[in-house]
Symmetry: C2
């Protein structure tokens, strides 16, 4: 039982900025003099429309999303996008390229095979997904309808440090675990999607940013809610959207603006990651598991040489208020997820705790 | 600008019990000593697992859901179910029967035609959906894979006052707008689905109650998130569920239990509807639009004989703290949605306001 808030290193859902939570708490019973909670508002009401349009506008401004691209707020998480992407985009050639760099990109590839011919353009599976393939190693099909990759791999703690160049083949990117963590040149992408629960909002809304050119080409008999055209035509209001999550996303975006936007956020994220990796590189007990050039700035995976000691560390950390440091069951070890909302003080406190643990066990 | 909470007659999203909102507000920063908000919890954590399993258990207990049926918490609203139902259930004969009693049942029918042969078993479209077809008029195909109907029609203010008898053909029911408003014999149904935002929780979670026998027969290449089997196998945790909405649903279910369960709730709902319909039947200015035997206890549709006066009424009501009384754009007039969370005091206050308006305009 904690009387105070703790440092939550969960891979997702994960920490939200405290100021966002406090504002949500303050206006929970009566939002802006509407006499009701955001949870109770008709999605067609002027109060909610204002929240919705402001959230979209803040996202467009923060990510500098060009007018060639639409913003959608959908449901079903990134996993639903694993189906929507091929259903909507694979049509032209019936083929798509996939880069496999972790669990979720592999799942996306597996699902897409239901809807067309999918080819592995690159894979780090043989090396337990500890690295990111470089540009030269990508086996690109210039006739593919799109190239799909996952920019940050939460389970393996790796992140692409470059944007794949695929010529005229549209880039499709799963940014679930690093969206809003750094500036992105959205114009380079055909489609970006991200579940909200890591860097944006509570679980329940999926952000899709899609080039208008890619809308309206869904395969025949695509379920209506899985057709991007349905949502573009109705501005994500074909049916009731996940209003509360969109509202919290709007507050998170305003928080990001108050910090100075995505460049400022990136600088903070780089510093948070750097101090933790620096500690790991010096440590005699812990070591990072991802290859250095592929290290994620969002999910820092590490371990000791001893599984029992890993388990002891996770347990002691949890009782000291550093929660969810256990690595994913597929890889074991530890993982510290240090998304946008994790303050640098939290990372510093973790390092201090690790150093003490190291001292006691070396 | 309202300093106090108002009576919100929205058709959905709609009012939540005040005690539920207050509890959510109280524990928003630190749920049960976890040191974090429910919005920040890993869906795999023991804290959230406890919320999730309790919510399921309360729903099973309140609705007396037999062990022959699974409970799923999904995303995408009832509209996604319009696709999931045929994708998963139409297989055996490739045919299904649909009763058309309003806008949403017609949409469900339209969508299902992508996936098989659908037949209109009954329709009240010719009478502007003002009535519900009786049992004798249903044109049933004993070889249909299922029979689909919508139990309460929010736009037209009608509600089935009986459960269709379809022999061995599984009953599929959209209960989005009246689930939890009355006891239901779940064992009679093959599948019940309901978007949460009217009677259960904030928009973003869809409850599906499905007979185990109907799981596992999806059409080939059904998108993974649209296959009920995916969710049954993983207890609705194939990917991150809409945790916050599930948590609020749990609080709403506990509130219903504290009232005495669904029979007690039904008695309250009957009284709320009765006093409003009684007033309408006596009124010289307003009249109800649905046929008497088909009247909904959730959505009371009414109007004056004058569209301009309707508009004036809606406007004056809104500024007096009775919000969202405008009828759906498809039908005009007025609609008072009086779901579970609308207290009888709200209905009484509305009647008083209407009586005063009537006196001023007759």
């Amino acid at each position: 039982m904690f009387n105070e808030r703790i440092y939550n290193f969960s891979a997702g859902p994960s920490m939200l900025p405290l100021s966002v939570l406090k504002q949500a708490q303050k206006e929970l019973l009566n939002y802006g003099g509407s006499g009701m909670s955001v949870m109770e508002m008709s999605h067609r009401s002027s109060s909610f429309d204002s929240i919705f349009q402001n959230t979209k506008a803040h996202l467009r401004s923060l990510m500098k999303i060009p007018n060639t691209h639409e913003i959608l707020f959908l449901q079903g998480g990134a996993t639903t996008q694993f189906s929507m992407v091929p259903l909507n985009l694979i049509g032209p050639s019936g083929k798509a390229d996939y880069a496999l760099t972790g669990n979720f990109s592999a799942k996306a590839y597996e699902e897409a095979q239901k809807f067309g011919i999918c080819t592995v353009a690159a894979s780090s599976a043989a090396e337990h997904y500890t690295f990111i393939p470089n540009q030269a190693s990508l086996q690109l099909d210039s006739n593919a309808s799109y190239f799909h990759y996952c920019d940050n791999n939460t389970i393996y703690g790796t992140e692409w440090n470059y944007v794949p160049q695929t010529g005229s083949v549209p880039l499709v990117c799963d940014m679930s675990s690093n969206i809003l963590s750094k500036p992105v040149d959205v114009g380079q992408y055909g489609l970006i999607y991200a579940g909200a629960q890591k860097n944006m909002a509570p679980a329940g809304v999926t952000v899709v940013i899609i080039s208008k050119e890619l809308v309206g080409h869904a395969l025949k008999n695509t379920p209506i809610m899985l057709d991007y055209a349905t949502h573009v035509k109705s501005d994500s209001m074909y049916n009731t959207p996940p209003c509360w999550c969109i509202y919290i996303l709007g507050l998170v975006l305003q928080w990001l603006e108050s910090l100075g936007g995505l460049s400022a956020m990136e600088a903070i994220n780089r510093e948070k990651a750097a101090i933790l990796y620096d500690y790991l590189d010096e440590s005699k007990l812990f070591h990072g598991t991802a290859q250095k050039e592929a290290r994620s700035k969002m999910n820092v995976t590490f371990r000791t040489a001893d599984q029992a000691l890993d388990a002891q560390f996770v347990k002691e950390a949890a009782s000291s208020g550093f929660s969810n440091l256990k690595g994913h069951r597929l890889v074991g070890g530890m993982r510290a997820s240090i998304y946008n909302a994790m303050p640098i003080q939290g990372v510093r406190a973790l390092i201090e705790f690790m150093a003490k643990f190291e001292k006691d066990h070396i």
